[in-house]
Symmetry: C2
Subunit: 271 residues, 2 copies
Amino acid sequence: MQAWVDGHSADSLALHNRGLAYGDGLFETIAVIAGRPSLLEYHLDRLALGCQRLAIEADHALIRDELCRYAALLGNGVLKLILTRGDSQRGYAAAAGAIPRRILQGNPAPAYPIEHAEQGVRLFACRTRLAEQPLLAGLKHLNRLEQVLARAEWQGAEYAEGLMLDVSGRVIEGVYSNLFLVRNNALLTADLSRCGVAGVMRAALLEAAAGEGVAVSVTDLSMADLEQADEVFVCNSVYGIWPVRSFASLNWSPGPLTRKLQAIARTLLDA
Amino acid sequence: MQAWVDGHSADSLALHNRGLAYGDGLFETIAVIAGRPSLLEYHLDRLALGCQRLAIEADHALIRDELCRYAALLGNGVLKLILTRGDSQRGYAAAAGAIPRRILQGNPAPAYPIEHAEQGVRLFACRTRLAEQPLLAGLKHLNRLEQVLARAEWQGAEYAEGLMLDVSGRVIEGVYSNLFLVRNNALLTADLSRCGVAGVMRAALLEAAAGEGVAVSVTDLSMADLEQADEVFVCNSVYGIWPVRSFASLNWSPGPLTRKLQAIARTLLDA
């Protein structure tokens, strides 16, 4: 589907945009099902948090309205929103009164093999580590060279996702997903206050699990935690949950809590 | 002056460019004097190193040729080259055969107050710290949110530059310059293997100083090193060298080695 820039059909962007010059902006990747943007409130919340932390003054009511109108036209697929700080001349200082630019792009839903959700996926062990930058941690900003480098480490279909550690060796997340461990029927996921992207499906699952009476822990995870996990899964806001069946020499079967949350994730996406 | 994209006049870029989506690319900011790009070999060397480390396969002979042709038309000013990995659809994996895109933008030379070079500048103490990411350290890549955040910390003309530390507290560089200290007639500058941008003026000055018989040390710098410095200056490839006259409660006068290197920097830019 034709993209929109600031609400108008467009296929290009002014060269002076700070998104291109410095990665000065944020993005959201939103599943669209039957004309509705899934997990919209979570996406808008994360975007608002990102704008606050980067001091980007956006019109959030307008963004919401545009996302809904674009999704209605897209029908089914994936909607990507890029919000940049706007245009400016050379130099890191933003021009006073720079107007944030909204870019909406629609794509068909990715055709992931059904086996990913049913039998689970293998995780590649990425050598690229995540740097620790608390000022940017959790945000889905446009500075994504670490993910580009990590994703370039493997080719082919054997691995559906790669696991990334931070520079200190903590287990953090997938290249384009968040990671959850299950141990003794409790759910664990990495603390993302130093690095990582706080996924909206992660946020929704943490809420849903707590609502189901599942003990939830957001904490630093080590390789030992991964080794001792009873179940492992990855999640994002497009595919929901994929069980993890192997990483390096470790193997798991999709477990009962993974299956239960997988159904919940499906419901959350379809809601 | 009108920008060029891939050798043709243009003022916009395809929305699917990975430079916008992920900051997946590099840039160079080049002084142009009398139609010639200053320090061209240093800029091309750094760009080639960046392409190698990011696995971007660019046509460097073509880039050199375009930079020279564009500079000849620009006459005097600043030429910014952005080299992105190219276009691709959604996802961190680059499309096989993605063709890097070359964006050239020309601007007038910035009108810095002459006092910056003559009397020196004050450095603002940035709270934004640089994350440690050895895979990207030294490169002038497009992921520059740390610099955007740091530059937004001060307004007005009191401070011409800001000093950035890394997350471990080492003294690294300015927001848009490199930092040098002079102590006992020796030159010190930060090791940039964990973070920072390895400026081309820094590289040229290190060579020139060594050629002049000045002892040069590229090493980790602490706040104590700054406190004990006899002279301090910042440099970049547009303005050359500015003496630093104050940072927090510290004060310096432009010293003899700073003045000597400032003249050398001027010669390097005009060569």
